[in-house]
């Protein structure tokens, strides 16, 4: 049942095209920024710029997660109230809202991974193409990824934590939505 609600939340969030695209893009940029900052911190321990960038990324990340959860509940308050009227429990609604939040972040993460794979592929291709045109050119034996696996994995854990906080906040807000809102007239 919870899996079905998660599936339905994906269906619903994908149909909110504008909101989904904007937040997905923002998460993608933030996840990349955080991963890259972690890479810099690991590469140059003690670097002020790298750690400042990392902490700014974290701050923006938590702010965006909380903002997204607030927007989702706020924009869907009438839908939530209607679903409560027709018999959905707070638990059912929490599954749905959690799906909205998690799916957007997961897609942002997948896009970052895709970009990193494509970066490596493009660099490899260019190296090979250059070597083909210039017989003397030495192909680099090691193509360094833009961001290695450790910073990406650490970023995933950080954003997962942010999303859990956002889900808890959204769940509290869902509890406060009264079903009676569904019966209020527009403008009343």
């Amino acid at each position: 049942m919870a899996f079905r609600l998660f599936k339905k939340s994906i269906l619903m969030v994908l149909r909110e095209k504008k909101q989904f695209t904007v937040f997905c893009l923002m998460y993608t940029i933030l996840i990349f920024w955080t991963s890259y900052s972690i890479k810099l911190v690991l590469a140059q321990p003690g670097s002020g710029i790298a750690s400042t960038s990392f902490f700014i990324a974290l701050g923006v990340g938590i702010f965006l997660s909380l903002l997204y959860s607030w927007i989702i509940v706020r924009r869907n308050s009438k839908t939530i109230a209607t679903l409560k009227c027709i018999g959905w429990t707070n638990r059912d609604l929490n599954s749905l809202i959690s799906g909205f939040i998690l799916f957007t972040t997961i897609i942002g993460f997948i896009i970052v991974i895709e970009v990193l794979f494509h970066y490596a592929a493009i660099v490899g291709y260019l190296e090979a193409a250059t070597a083909e045109l210039n017989p003397g050119y030495m192909i680099s034996p090691l193509i360094l990824p833009l961001v290695s696996l450790l910073p990406v994995f650490a970023t995933f854990l950080i954003f997962l934590t942010f999303q859990i906080i956002a889900i808890l906040l959204a769940n509290r807000k869902v509890l406060k939505v009264r079903p009676i809102i569904a019966l209020k007239r527009v403008g009343e």
Binding site: K84, C85, I86, G87, N90, A182, R185
Partner: protein, 231 residues
């Protein structure tokens, strides 16, 4: 609690007050009424007379300050939210004035949504939704979004959502308030048909006197009290 087996809903000494801008407004005062199974009840009265509040407390959407609401033999006046949700999912169908369809879902998905949190299989839910759409003559619109439907079609979709789980009672708050006369007749005829064919108790809140011919009981309200009950 001994109750007449034909009694669907009973309100006993129900009171409800609101606080608005510092003033206390009595929305319901000492309401006593009995609605029997299979009745078609109209609750009529001017704006602000408490008829929507009555509907809300009868369905457990709002709780009374005092008194009892016996719904199908169970006092729901002090029930927990989880219990009330279960009761609404199993026994009550809602029809809203503003239709309250979810804009990101198609007609059939809006109807199915009621049963998504249940253990029923997807195919069973789909079959029930199709049957409900057929009952309200809206099957050809099943894949349309609310924005692609007229007011009458949206309300018929809302009606299909209200009957998908075969409820004991349908509560309708001004169901024809946003409809043209032709759509109003279609919706009221459908409610009457559901009342007759499925023996569902129907409670309609309206300020329109023109709907009286559909009712088997008319409750008139004014200033939070029942002024008259006609059978």
């Amino acid at each position: 609690m001994p109750v007449d087996k034909d009694t669907m809903i009973e309100a006993i000494d129900v009171n409800k007050e609101y606080r608005r801008a510092g003033a206390i407004i009595r929305a319901l005062g000492d309401i006593n009424l009995t609605i029997k199974s299979g009745e078609f009840v109209l609750v009529q009265g001017p704006t602000g007379c408490g008829k929507s509040t009555l509907l809300n407390v009868l369905s457990g959407i709002d709780l009374p300050d005092s008194g009892k609401i016996i719904f199908d033999g169970e006092n729901i006046a002090r029930a927990q939210e989880a219990r009330l949700s279960k009761l609404r999912r199993q026994k009550i169908g809602f029809v809203f004035q503003d239709f309250n369809l979810i804009p990101t879902l198609t007609a059939i998905e809006n109807i199915e949504a009621l049963l998504w949190p249940t253990v029923l299989r997807e195919k069973e839910i789909e079959n029930r939704a199709i049957a409900a759409l057929r009952d309200v003559n809206l099957l050809e619109r099943k894949d349309h979004y609310p924005v692609q439907m007229s007011g009458g079609e949206k309300q018929r979709c809302g009606l299909a959502r209200a009957i998908i789980h075969r409820p004991r009672v349908i509560l309708a708050d001004e169901p024809t308030g946003n409809l043209d006369p032709e759509s109003e007749k279609q919706v009221m005829d459908l409610l009457k048909k559901i009342n007759k064919d499925m023996e569902t108790t129907i409670i309609v809140v309206t300020h329109r006197g023109s709907l009286s011919s559909y009712a088997s009981k008319i409750i008139k309200m004014d200033k939070g009290v029942i002024t008259n009950i006609q059978k």
